[in-house]
Symmetry: C2
DNA sequence: TGCGGTGCTTACCTTTTCGTAAGGGGGATC
DNA sequence: GATCCCCCTTACGAAAAGGTAAGCACCGCA
C-alpha cells in the first residue's frame, strides 16, 4: 500500500493536506461527492471517466482511512454501498476552494483545453 | 521528465493547481521563498533538510516552467543564482493558505508529531 | 596541493503509483 | 442457462517519482 510516506511527520500544514488529496482521482472524487452528496460505487465510476475499479476502490479506502469519506454498506441483495463526505471531507473541500479558483486562472492563462465543467472550479 | 501527465487537459481547477504543487518538496520551496523573499540554491538546500541537489534543481526548474518561480543568474565568480516567487507564485501561496490551515487541523486531530514551524501553517 | 563551497548534471537504481486483466459470489434479467 | 450488474480483490507489469553517488568548472583558503 502507500503507507510508506503517508502520515509521515509533516513539516507544515500544506504537506499534511496535500498528502490526503494527492492521488490521481481524489480531487474529482471529492468533487463528485460534494456535488451529489451521496454516491454509489458504480455512480462514482461513471462520473470519473477513465478510472479503473481498482483505483477507485483504493482511493476510496484511503480517503475513508483519512476520515474524508463515509462508507455505508446496506445489507441488501444486491449489496448497496453508499459513499458521502464526512465533516472533515466537507471542510477540506472548502479549503480547496481558493486553490480551485487559482487553478482555473492558470488554465485560462495557458489556454489549455478546458473541459466544460471546469468553470465551476471545484463545486 | 514529468511531462507525461503535467499540463494535461484538466477536468477542474483543483487538478490544474495540484499538478503544480505535487512534488515532494514543492510546498516547502514555496514556503521558503514566501518567507525569505529571495533565496540562493544552497540556502534553499539548507532550508529543506533531506532534499537532494538533484530533486531541488529539478523542482525549481519545473516551478520556473510553471511560472511560479523567478530565477536570476548573476554573472559573477563564483556564480550566484537567486530564486524568488513570481506574482503567480505569490497568489498560489495565498490560495494554499486555507489548505495549510486545514492541514494543521488534521495534524492536531491525529496527534502527529508537529515540527515546531508547523504552527504557522504555511507562512 | 588539497579541500570546501557554488550550482548544477548525469547515470543508475529503488520505491511508489497507476493501469490492465481477470476472477468471484450472488442475484436479476433475457 | 447465459449473461449482466454489483462491489470489489488479486496478480502482473509499466511508468513515474524519488534517492544515491559521482562528476564538473571555477575559485578562495590553508
Amino acid at each position: 500500500m502507500t503507507r510508506a510516506s503517508r502520515r509521515g511527520p509533516y513539516i507544515c500544514g500544506i504537506e499534511a493536506a496535500l498528502d490526503v488529496v494527492s492521488g490521481k482521482w481524489k480531487g474529482q472524487i471529492l468533487w463528485e461527492l460534494a456535488v451529489h452528496g451521496v454516491r454509489r460505487f458504480a455512480e462514482l465510476r461513471r462520473g470519473l471517466p477513465g478510472v479503473s475499479e481498482k483505483m477507485l476502490a483504493q482511493h476510496l479506502r484511503e480517503m475513508e482511512e483519512d476520515g474524508l469519506v463515509h462508507r455505508e454498506v446496506h445489507a441488501e441483495v444486491p449489496p448497496r454501498v453508499e459513499y458521502s463526505l464526512t465533516e472533515h471531507g466537507r471542510t477540506l473541500n472548502q479549503a480547496l476552494g481558493p486553490l480551485g479558483v487559482w487553478g482555473v486562472e492558470r488554465m485560462r492563462r495557458e489556454g489549455s483545453e478546458t473541459v466544460d465543467a471546469a468553470e465551476s472550479s471545484h463545486g
